[in-house]
Symmetry: C2
Amino acid sequence: MNTPTNSSLLKGSLSVMILRLLEDRERMYGYEITQKVKELTAGEMAITEGALYPALHKLEAEGLLTTETQLVDGRARKYYSLTKTGQTEAAGRIAELAAFLENLNLVLNLKPSL
Amino acid sequence: MNTPTNSSLLKGSLSVMILRLLEDRERMYGYEITQKVKELTAGEMAITEGALYPALHKLEAEGLLTTETQLVDGRARKYYSLTKTGQTEAAGRIAELAAFLENLNLVLNLKPSL
DNA sequence: TTTTTATACCTAAGACTTGTAGGTATGTAA
DNA sequence: TTACATACCTACAAGTCTTAGGTATAAAAA
């Protein structure tokens, strides 16, 4: 397994990534999220657990996520899903981030390098 | 003057925006940067001065920027330019951010909404 | 003439997110 | 039996940003 090149996230993006992943899936558990992100980015992006779990707990406290714990192969998994409020909020926050990224690109004016 | 819709930045992007703007320009002063960002984003993105000036000072302390103060119309302007080190570092940090943004898009998998 | 707006710089305090660095525990492979 | 993958967690420090002030000059509006 190769070491991720991007060790740090842009602060504020993690919770939106979580919400976006859960928009497309019924439910996910924490460890699964870390693996899915690695998979989607070909190992280039790593979600640290020290950031992930507090983020999940905060989204749950905000009422955007609900949990159900399940025992699989003798190990406890905590599945997270979007609440109804979470679905609405997710759409809003994702749109907000998308708008920001468009503006960021306007400022950066990056030339296509490939 | 319309109120910016994006009140918050993705933490970490500001310094790269500054470096990118200075890549294309000999020199800029703080206030000019805030106006240029507004202009480029049609007023949607606002750089707060409370974030901008500390960021400029840090980049200068890191040796990436140099300053020259000039009096224009009775008001002092502090012009910032990239140092030689700054030019190298700018290229690196911009590439790093671009790579991160690509990975972020892979995770977000945003559908074209317009 | 006085007040407001635009220009132009600055800092302090607090909120918030993240990385580092630990910890616990089970199942499986070496 | 040792290491690795799975699976959860927290405390602390570092860093960036927003909010909310401050100072000062020039020009425009009231």
